[in-house]
């Protein structure tokens, strides 16, 4: 079963690789991944869709939370959350099926973003299963080309974000005794 993980992380070089590295090191293939800046430009929000064996799930989330660049990793699979995806597709539409295609698009709430003699470019958003259906239906009209945006999700529960405060460091010389393994 696909697991949706939402991660708030620092917008830094290599941060994405640290998160995905935890998955690839365990041999998991990432089904979908989206990442973009948050309101705070120093942070990014990442949503990963990946099928993890149940016994490793908690462990992996803990490991993600351990990463220095990760502020919070949350498993949204079994908690109230909304997941959406964007699909862009090109449909070849000969004269006789143009109306039918537009009708279907309307049913799924898709928008026409480009229209040519050959066909349409459509944009649709929705939950993943609904988009799967939409794609299946459009395929029945002939050749299509699809680009999926990957799942994005938002938790419906407010999660307390605990951040570490700054740590005094380095200023005084000769204070090496106190950092013998214990902070």
């Amino acid at each position: 079963m696909l697991q949706i993980i939402s991660i708030l992380l620092e917008n830094k070089t290599g941060a994405l690789m640290r998160v995905t590295g935890l998955l690839t090191a365990r041999g998991y293939n990432i089904d979908s991944l989206t990442v973009a800046r948050t309101l705070d430009p120093e942070l990014s929000r990442m949503t990963i869709g990946v099928a993890i064996e149940p016994h490793q799930r908690r462990q992996l989330i803990k490991h993600m939370n351990k990463l220095i660049n990760v502020l919070q990793a949350t498993d949204l699979t079994d908690s109230p959350a909304v997941t959406r995806e964007l699909v862009l597709m090109r449909v070849r539409a000969p004269q006789e099926s143009r109306t039918a295609i537009l009708k279907e698009a309307e049913i799924f709430g898709a928008r026409v973003v480009d229209s040519t003699l050959e066909g349409f470019a459509l944009e649709a958003t929705g939950d993943i299963e609904k988009l799967d259906e939409f794609i299946d239906i459009m395929r029945s009209y002939g050749e299509i080309e699809v680009t999926r945006g990957g799942a994005v999700a938002v938790s419906l529960e407010s999660k307390k974000l605990r951040l570490s405060p700054p740590v005094p460091r380095g200023a005084e010389e000769g204070k090496s005794e106190e950092k013998n393994g214990v902070i």
């Binding site: 490991h63 740590v167 200023a171």
Partner: protein
């Protein structure tokens, strides 16, 4: 107040502020500016003979002192050579900061000479790593690196620095604070859980304390000892935890696991409460998991939340620093103990444990014609009295040393526990000796691991480091041979090590003394002579070639079904 300084000088200034007195390293093209700055800097640089050994030596320095070890290598091959040492530090949670040079920033990605993607290669080999391309970021990054390496669950941190950063100038202002918003360190432990843990400990009839490397890392030996005496539970120390409870302590019942003592493993099987402190339920300890401590509830204290319930579900988890948590548990125990009356269950449990201990002590047969490896360890034990720093390589000798040498204190037993890196013994002893110039430091190696780090004999000589290198020479890759004998019908494949160099000539060529002993009657005198020598010493001890380590829990076996004596091969193979 700021000062215009080169990146190389800024780096050394930051190291000084972190209290660094020693760097183990090897120079190269892109670190030239750094080494030029080191030329007249008070920080001592120990020039090793291979970068892997720089990382191992930094670990020896750290493991023996608790301070952060520092190693340094150039770009490309220098950095890739560090990797084994970093993964090793990662597995055993040893605080090490590795500094590597990188090609000039604008050349990155151009397949420049000695370029490698060090940042990418070492990502999973470190707790955290950095690539510094801007000299202004350098001070912040260095202080972050040391903080991350030493705090929480310690580990290696690598800082990859481009050549132009070393060369570039910046206005240097000392860093006064660092901010890592996502780095969470939990130290205190949950008060309610602590109270419940103390109650569980006193309610248990057959408690067992399982203490590991976490006690060493958090310097909580004294607190452990108090807990052991308050609960009065039999205590096992893992391979990484040896010395945290002195080997002479009456509650100490040796090491558990694959080559653990009978009493330790039977105890771990029969207990109704495991008090796990700074351990990670390693497969070498638990054996077959579904047969591990089947009747026990688990209290698990660890600073790393990801260790809790990783292998075995914790009935009562406490996330925190043992140094902080144990005194709190001890305080509750002291408060509760007066109300607890007789503990008849515990009395019976101790009787049982003592019986196990008496039934199958760690014993071996001596011989007159050939030195038994166990005899060698016993002699080292007799002469060092649990006070020497013993750095072990990996293999049979490591297990015999762990079984038979006493350690009165933590940080005396230094070995590659998690990764099991051959070649670790000699360079880690080198690092430990640098940090403890007046202490007896022994490297116990097999003839295999020793030959992986022979070049460091030169370093011992160069820096006048009086490490006593004891090679337990059985002419085999002994542990692999043991498994081939027991599980592969004695088809000995690629385990014979012929052509061991003559130690007198070898050590002599490096400028110090070497010797071979073969007869049991000479052993005690040979060891005493080596230990008394003011310089480094190479002692090649030829031991019974086909001796096997027992007790042994075969891979995938249950810990209560250990094999105590040499069996018939067929018996084990079923």
């Amino acid at each position: 107040m700021s000062q215009l300084m080169s990146g190389a000088k800024i780096l050394l200034e930051c190291l000084a502020r972190e209290g660094v007195d020693t760097i183990f390293g090897y120079p190269g093209g892109v670190t030239l500016p750094l080494y030029d700055a080191m030329y007249d800097n008070p920080i001592r640089h120990i020039l090793v003979r291979h970068e892997q050994n720089a990382a191992f030596a930094a670990q020896g320095y750290s493991r023996s002192t608790g301070k952060v070890g520092v190693c340094c290598a150039t770009s490309g091959p220098g950095a890739t050579n560090l990797v084994t040492g970093l993964v090793d530090a990662m597995m055993d949670s040893i605080p090490v900061v590795a500094l590597t040079g990188q090609v000039t920033a604008k050349l990155i990605g151009s397949d420049a000479f000695q370029e490698a993607d060090t940042f990418g290669i070492t990502r999973s080999a470190t707790k955290h790593n950095y690539l510094v391309k801007n000299v202004n970021e350098l001070p912040q990054v260095i202080h972050e690196a040391f903080y991350i390496a030493a705090s929480g669950r310690p580990g290696p941190v690598l800082v990859d620095i481009t050549k132009d950063v070393f060369q570039g100038n910046a206005h240097y202002t000392p860093v006064t604070s660092i901010h890592l918003p996502g780095y969470k360190v939990y130290t205190e432990g949950h008060t309610g859980q602590i109270r419940r843990a103390a109650q569980m400990m006193l309610e248990a009839e057959r408690p067992m304390i399982y203490a590991g490397g976490g006690i060493v890392l958090s310097n909580a030996s004294a607190e452990l000892r108090e807990l052991v005496e308050l609960v009065d539970a039999p205590t096992v120390c893992t391979l990484m935890g040896l010395g945290t409870l002195g080997s002479e302590h009456p509650n100490f019942i040796s090491m558990p696991g694959m080559h653990g003592s009978y009493a330790a493993n039977m105890g771990m099987y029969g207990t109704d409460l495991i008090i796990a402190l700074g351990v990670r339920f390693d497969d070498r300890v638990t054996g077959r998991l579904n047969a591990f401590a089947p009747h026990a509830r688990i209290i698990h204290v660890d600073i790393d939340p990801a260790e809790i319930s990783k292998i075995r579900n914790a009935d009562l988890p406490i996330v925190g620093d043992l140094k902080r948590v144990l005194p709190k548990i001890n305080a509750v125990l002291k408060e509760l103990l007066p109300e607890v009356g007789e503990r008849p269950g515990l009395k019976a449990w101790w009787k049982q444990v003592r019986e196990w201990k008496a039934e199958h002590p760690l014993r071996y047969d001596t011989a007159d014609d050939v030195i038994k490896p166990q005899h060698l360890m016993r002699e080292i034990d007799r002469l060092t009295k649990g006070e020497a720093i013993v750095c072990s390589d990996v293999g049979q000798h490591q297990m015999w040393a762990a079984q038979l040498i006493r350690f009165n204190e933590p940080r005396l037993w230094i070995n590659s526990g998690g990764l099991g890196s051959m070649g670790f013994g000699l360079p880690s002893a080198l690092g430990a000796q640098v940090a403890n110039p007046n202490q007896l430091v022994i490297a116990i190696c097999g003839d295999g691991g020793f030959q992986m780090s022979i070049p460091e004999l030169a370093t011992l000589f160069n820096f006048g480091l009086p490490v006593k290198v004891i090679v337990m020479n059985n002419g085999y890759l002994g542990m692999v041979r043991q498994w081939q004998e027991l599980f592969y019908a004695n088809r000995l494949s690629q385990v014979t090590l012929d052509g061991f160099p003559d130690p007198v000539q070898l050590a002599g060529a490096y400028g110090f003394k070497g010797r071979t002993v073969e007869r049991p009657s000479e052993l005690a005198e040979a060891l005493a002579t080596a230990f008394a020598d003011p310089g480094p010493y190479l002692l090649n001890v030829k031991v019974a070639p086909t001796e096997n380590v027992f007790p042994m829990v075969p891979a995938g076996g249950a810990i209560n079904e250990m094999v105590l004596t040499p069996p018939q091969p067929a018996e084990l193979r079923k």
